[in-house]
Symmetry: C2
Subunit: 141 residues, 2 copies
Amino acid sequence: MTQAGCELCEQEGGIPVFRNDALRVIRAQDTDHPAFYRVIWNAHVAEWTGLPPPDRSASMQAVAKVETVLRQALQPTKVNLASLGNVVPHLHWHVIARFDWDARWPAPVWAPKNKEVADATSRLPMPLAELDQRVAQVLST
Amino acid sequence: MTQAGCELCEQEGGIPVFRNDALRVIRAQDTDHPAFYRVIWNAHVAEWTGLPPPDRSASMQAVAKVETVLRQALQPTKVNLASLGNVVPHLHWHVIARFDWDARWPAPVWAPKNKEVADATSRLPMPLAELDQRVAQVLST
């Protein structure tokens, strides 16, 4: 179930954090929003309801685990969740820790930047490598 | 479980389409993106994982039903799902039918408009009142 020319069928899609048979978690490399993960369904499907209900649940359980780690580790102002896929119609859930100091707060990350924040990664309470490990660990359980 | 000053504790949040004890579905009045619904949890909770797992599932089952109706009734180019809540931190899921002719396609609805589309509602294959009825009917089952 891969589609020729689909970026998420052919590439990992970011820094690999976790993978099982059904899905993977990657970290996006977004300097403005450094604690930005994606839960990507491995098989090619465009819409979330294109999955049978048990797989919908499995994808959301992974989203919940990533969100839970972000909340516990970073105490963000808010977590943003989204499945858009207009440009890459291969199911992926964005899971993004948002902070009131970040470059687009309170707008969504897809809105224009409203300020410059040069050191977003260093403002997080832990290094990204450690955060990745915590995400991987919780996904493995 | 209401919070003083919270817009979604104090107001319906849009055109009422469906309500049960746990959640409601409203239609947002967005002339650029007319097939735009929100699944709003009735009790005040900021994050999706702030709900116990059965309630997370219940909220997603409602999201799935709305998405399914939009796909069947409108055959949109893509459905966009999102739980952001940066401005109104009361759990609500956006469920939005997107079309390649719409004013922000392929960008998210929160990005700047890239063209003017004067008659978005009339381009839908059915009147919004009928779409609302279908959403309400499926949510009631």
